[in-house]
């Protein structure tokens, strides 16, 4: 006769299955608790040392809307470092890309495509993205306190880069900045690994949130439509043309060689159509 011992784990034959059940339970809990309650989270987005943007994320009933400002946040007053500048071996310039618009992303859990607005040469486009599903590895034991949140680490691969996220179970909403989410709790910090990392840091939260989402879907629907592949190809072409022009204007100085290196400084390094 088989004896039942307390904690013998008969219901869960091994720890892996138990972990899976636990994760499923957490996700279900997150979905149930978050259902009907609106959330507003404000992130600080740092694509490079050159600029910082404010990004607002709204989440309700499986619909996530992310709104990123078109203009960077004003920089704090710089201290006088004119002497350092003279000794520095680098300089940074920002291209004037014409009028820019807010980047709005609408992600519905039951829709295969993600919709967003993107600016190019002073025009705003409504772009559809066949967003690849994010498969998160949450098996890390790392726990960090970020601000007042106890956070857990998770990683995933995404379009040629590795994303590292820290999420909190205190806010059981599967949302996060930009196009990211799907974890048992709200993402508090996220960055991508690589030469040009982008950082998102949670700055403010309203949960439950009682206001409206400041997005006009009618306006978005009226914009010229493109799929992501066409948009990226147009953008790459535009950048290439401008950089070739810049290279042609570089002065020729004897004994000095000038080399150009094309960089894709976005989070996305390799798109699906570029893999072959």
């Amino acid at each position: 006769m088989q004896k039942f011992k307390r904690g013998s784990g008969l219901a869960f034959p091994n720890l892996t299955i138990m972990n899976k059940y636990f994760l499923f339970f957490l996700l279900s809990l997150a979905t149930t608790v978050s259902h009907g309650q609106k959330l507003k989270a404000v992130y600080q987005y740092l694509p490079s040392p050159m600029a910082t943007f404010r990004e607002e994320v709204y989440f309700q009933d499986g619909v996530k809307t992310s709104v990123r400002d078109s203009l960077p946040q004003p920089k704090p007053q710089a201290t006088d470092n004119s002497n350092d500048e003279e000794l520095s071996g680098s300089m940074s310039i920002t291209l004037d890309m014409g009028k820019t618009y807010r980047n709005i992303i609408i992600q519905k859990s039951n829709a295969p495509k993600l919709l967003e607005t993107r600016s190019l040469k002073g025009s705003n486009y409504f772009v559809s993205d066949d967003f690849p599903p994010l498969v998160w590895n949450t098996s890390y034991t790392d726990i960090d306190t970020l601000g007042k949140h106890i956070c857990h680490k998770a990683t995933t691969t995404y379009r040629g880069t590795t994303l590292v996220a820290y999420y909190t179970n205190d806010i059981p909403v599967p949302a996060g900045p930009y196009k990211f989410g799907g974890l048992p709790g709200l993402i508090v910090m996220l960055y991508n690994e690589g030469a040009n990392p982008h950082y998102w840091l949670l700055k403010e939260i309203e949960y439950p949130y009682i206001g409206d989402v400041p997005v006009n879907e009618k306006y978005m629907n009226a914009l010229p439509k493109l799929n992501l592949e066409s948009y990226i190809k147009k953008e790459d072409l535009e950048n290439e043309e401008r950089m070739r022009m810049m290279m042609s204007k570089m002065p020729l100085i004897e004994g000095v060689t000038v080399e150009r290196k094309k960089v894709r400084g976005s989070v996305e390094q390799v798109y699906e159509w570029e893999k072959n």
Partner: protein, 121 residues
């Protein structure tokens, strides 16, 4: 004989560097540091070359006497309005002592070009 040739070549290189510095100083005199879209940052890439280093793109004179020269690399980072880097331009040369002269010449050239819209910006 070889030493004399090397000395001659070094003299030539030095003369051309002095000429470049003098020309750029004269050309950009009075243009003022008025470039609004520029922001200096980060690294200084200057290091002494070891003897018999791997060949690099440079003038013959620099190649011949590189063991005594300092390699200077000046980087221009180009960002789009979303704050993402889209291109980098590196200017490279060899100097006898400090790179600061070369760096300030590069900075002056780029500032001048920016101020006059010559970078297509």
């Amino acid at each position: 004989m070889v030493k004399q040739q090397n000395l001659k070549k070094m003299k030539k290189l030095l003369m051309s560097l002095v000429a470049v510095a003098a020309l750029s100083t004269a050309a950009f005199a009075g243009t003022d540091a008025n470039a609004p879209k520029e922001n200096a940052n980060v690294k200084t890439t200057a290091y002494k070359l070891a003897k018999n280093n791997t060949p690099v793109k440079a003038t013959e004179a620099a190649k011949e006497s590189k063991s005594m020269l300092t390699k200077c690399v000046y980087t221009l980072n180009v960002y789009n309005s979303s704050g993402q880097v889209i291109d980098t331009f590196t200017s490279q040369t060899y100097v006898e002592n400090s790179c600061s002269g070369f760096f300030s010449t590069c900075k002056a050239v780029y500032r001048h070009m920016l101020a006059h819209g010559e970078l297509g910006i």
